[in-house]
């Protein structure tokens, strides 16, 4: 991962050279990113002030997102996973600028040679960003305006982005409905005519209306019934393949994450504790939290009724996080160092980053599988 400082310097230089269009100053840092990289989030922070005291002044901050680094390559599905309150949703909303980050950089490849820093865009410059980046929400009931029919809902992105011809929009909406597996004649119906799964298809159609490159899916299937979940997962995967999309997939369900993603980033109390390609992460986790999280997932097989490894205690309060490694009070392997020093996210194996002082020495259990686990080929520290 390259240093963020270099980019800023470079950016300043380009800014002086070409003060042409609005938005220009945040562009033209294309070579700061490797060509396959679509999104690169660097040192992202989002603090929410805590008001209190007599005058309602700020007395502290909830560090909802605390120095998060992550990246998504073109055509890649990155899952952001963690328990409630870990900051995964806030992170995803910062990437979209649905929430304004406190600091950090969000580099996003908007064209072949164009990279913008999403974090620095002015409000006026957000519209072109959102043509390339869209969102799927968790609650299929709250994310569709009950007063508009599907044509208005799916056609809105087209309308506000310059497609004024009604016929043109009708055609495109019909096409999008077909794409997500709904009948085109549904476009005159209102959301109340649809079930949760169908609504989620509508939400997906709206997100795809402007041909985005990146789709942020915030718990996109967790509100759905089990039998419908699989339909939507299949649809998401199919669309990803057909349209060459990339997903930032925010979820708490590890089984789904394992099924859908190429790479996974695990968050705990506002920080990323481990990120790696899906297979090594699940079969040879390097962070005790990741390992415990996987052990806690109940297996849908009564014959594998393991004595689930219980993680003691509960998720730390992000307003008053513990010292050192935030996980140390619950970690069975914690040492004095863990209590004192905050571990940095470092690359322990190629592509496998972890924020744990003892990553090399621990041999943590992952998900079992038929073939011998990666543990045997493990590089000895």
């Amino acid at each position: 991962m390259s240093e963020a400082g270099a980019v800023t310097t470079h950016q300043a230089a380009t800014e002086a050279a070409t003060p042409v269009r609005a938005g220009e100053r945040t562009r033209a840092v294309a070579h700061a990113l490797p060509p396959e990289r679509l999104l690169d989030v660097r040192h992202l922070k989002k603090y929410f002030p805590i008001k209190g005291g007599f005058f309602g002044s700020t007395v502290g901050a909830v560090k909802a997102v605390d120095d998060v680094n992550l990246h998504v390559d073109t055509g890649e599905i990155l899952s952001l996973v963690g328990e409630s309150g870990c900051g995964k949703t806030t992170t995803s909303r910062c990437v979209l600028r649905a929430v304004n980050p406190t600091s950090g950089e969000i580099l996003f490849r908007i064209g072949d040679d164009e990279v913008i820093d999403v974090a620095k865009l002015s409000d006026r410059e957000l519209r072109p960003l959102w043509r390339n980046m869209q969102m799927i929400f968790q609650d299929p009931f709250g994310s569709l305006n009950p007063r508009k029919n599907l044509f208005d809902i799916i056609g809105e992105p087209l309308l506000v982005n310059g497609v004024k011809s009604r016929q043109e929009r009708m055609d495109r909406v019909a096409e999008l409905l077909g794409l997500v597996g709904l009948r085109p004649e549904y476009m005159h119906r209102y959301p109340h005519a649809f079930s949760g799964g169908q609504r989620q298809r509508v939400v997906i159609a709206r997100a795809l209306a402007l041909n985005p490159k990146l789709v942020v899916a915030d718990e996109a299937v967790s509100a759905l019934d089990v039998s419908v979940q699989a339909q939507i997962l299949n649809l998401l995967l199919e669309l990803q393949e057909r349209l060459g999309l990339s997903y930032l997939f925010v979820a708490h369900d590890l089984s789904i994450v394992k099924h859908i993603s190429h790479r996974v980033a695990v968050m705990y109390v506002g920080k990323i504790v481990e990120t790696a390609p899906t297979d090594p992460l699940f079969h040879a986790p390097l962070h005790p939290y990741t390992s415990a999280l996987m052990a806690a997932v109940p297996q849908a097989d009564p014959r594998r009724r393991s004595e689930m490894i219980r993680l003691e205690g509960e998720v730390a309060n992000p307003a008053k996080p513990p010292s050192g490694c935030y996980f140390h009070p619950r970690c069975p392997f914690a040492t004095a160092q863990c209590k004192a020093e905050t571990p940095l996210l470092r690359e322990v194996r190629p592509g496998h980053f972890v924020a744990c002082h003892r990553a090399e020495e621990l041999d943590l259990p992952g998900v079992e599988r038929g073939t011998p686990s990666l543990g045997t080929s493990r590089a000895e520290g």
Binding site: A98, D139, G142, N145, R147, L182, A193, R206, N234
Partner: protein
């Protein structure tokens, strides 16, 4: 992926429901509320009275005649000698009591005054433009029209029914106009407060706190007392309206703000923002339609309050003043026990107030429930 199987409901149910817009569903829900529908009709009727009191009235409301003071109501009857006949009233005859020197009115069952529809009467301009002399009803024959006072007369011998019709115009319109001003104030300030938040929100909220802490009637009284006695009726009318509106907008503002705050957090609003919709579009295409029905309901509930307040002020002599006619002004005639005991029918305008306020309240509740069926 193939087309999704239709939910079974699609086949079982009339598909037209699926293409019914939300406001229509709200309306369908409202019409299930029978009492609400009845009240809607009452409100429509009262509004008609307010729009054309001249047509509904039987006599000129300002013509005084001391000779005809305190005639009790002459109820419309349809049964005479045990037979169903066309509607009529009995005539009355006044006799001066020699001891008390008071006029005493006696019903004369020999004089039958038939009710006639659309007779000619005093001339007026309908809606202020169309000259006509037709009225809804009258008594007697076409050649010999007779005045009869179905709701009796007051101290100055004026026909109460006719005065009530005129009073409806002023009382209802004061309520409406005051609420209109309140609504504009409330929506603008509440909207600003809710949408922008921050210190603007804080400032407006504190202002609302302050205004709500003030007991309204003394302040209204003081403001009305400040109106010069020499002002013409129309000025007083507008001044009273503004005075009522000045303290009345706070509740609406709170309501609007609350709606804005909760809508701002809705996913569909975020979604609209994320597809690049402008702020104006988000507010007017997504947020306002979402709470418009609530605002209509809140306004419907605010009108009766304003009507009651006008009645209070006028009753105490600090609101509308004669020769203007409002329900409150009419009730002033019944301000003390003595007048009520002598002529209880002077309280009839109060019954009108109650019916109007009742109907508007039930209507407003019905609308609110229809707009927000899951709120309770």
């Amino acid at each position: 992926m193939s087309d999704v199987a239709l939910p079974v409901a699609d086949r079982a149910k009339e598909p037209s429901v699926y293409v019914t817009p939300a406001w229509k569903l709200t309306w369908l829900r409202f019409t299930k509320h029978k009492l609400g529908v009845v009240c809607l009709w009452i409100v429509v009727l009262i509004t008609l009275m307010a729009l054309m009191p001249e047509f509904f009235s039987a006599a000129d409301p300002n013509v005084t005649s001391a000779r005809l003071a305190y005639i009790p109501p002459q109820p419309v009857r349809i049964i005479r000698d045990g037979h169903l006949v066309r509607p009529f009233v009995y005539g009355v005859e006044g006799q001066r009591n020699q001891r008390t020197l008071k006029m005493e009115w006696v019903q004369d069952t020999d004089v039958v005054l038939p009710l006639r529809l659309f007779p000619r009467g005093y001339a007026y301009r309908l809606f202020g433009v169309i000259p006509t002399d037709r009225h809804l009803f009258g008594f007697g024959t076409a050649e010999q029209p007779v005045t009869a006072n179905i709701l009796g007369t007051d101290r100055l011998g004026r026909d109460q029914w006719s005065r009530l019709m005129y009073g409806t115009r002023i009382s209802l319109s004061i309520g409406l106009v005051a609420v209109l001003i309140s609504t504009v104030l409330g929506i603008v300030l509440g909207g600003i407060s809710g949408y922008f938040g921050g210190w603007v929100d804080n400032l407006i909220q504190r202002l609302i706190d302050l205004l709500q802490a003030i007991p309204a009637i003394p302040v209204w009284l003081a403001l009305s007392a400040a109106l010069p006695r020499t002002w013409p009726v129309t000025w007083v009318y507008f001044a009273i309206t503004v005075i009522l509106a000045l303290l009345g907008w706070t509740r609406l503002a709170r309501e609007v703000r609350g709606r804005f705050l909760s809508l701002r957090e809705e996913d569909f609003v975020t979604a609209a923002r994320l597809v690049g919709a402008s702020q104006g579009r988000i507010i007017f295409s997504h947020m306002v339609p979402s709470f418009a029905s609530h605002i209509i309901a809140a306004v419907t509930l605010a009108v009766p309050l304003m009507i009651l307040n006008e009645t209070f002020l006028s009753f105490l002599g600090l609101g509308m003043r004669p020769p203007a006619i409002s329900w409150g002004v009419m009730l002033q005639e019944a301000q003390n026990l003595q007048s009520v005991v002598n002529a209880p029918w002077l309280l009839i305008p109060g019954v009108f107030v109650i019916i109007t306020v009742l109907a508007l309240n039930i209507l407003g509740d019905g609308l609110r429930d229809a707009a927000d069926p899951y709120s309770h």
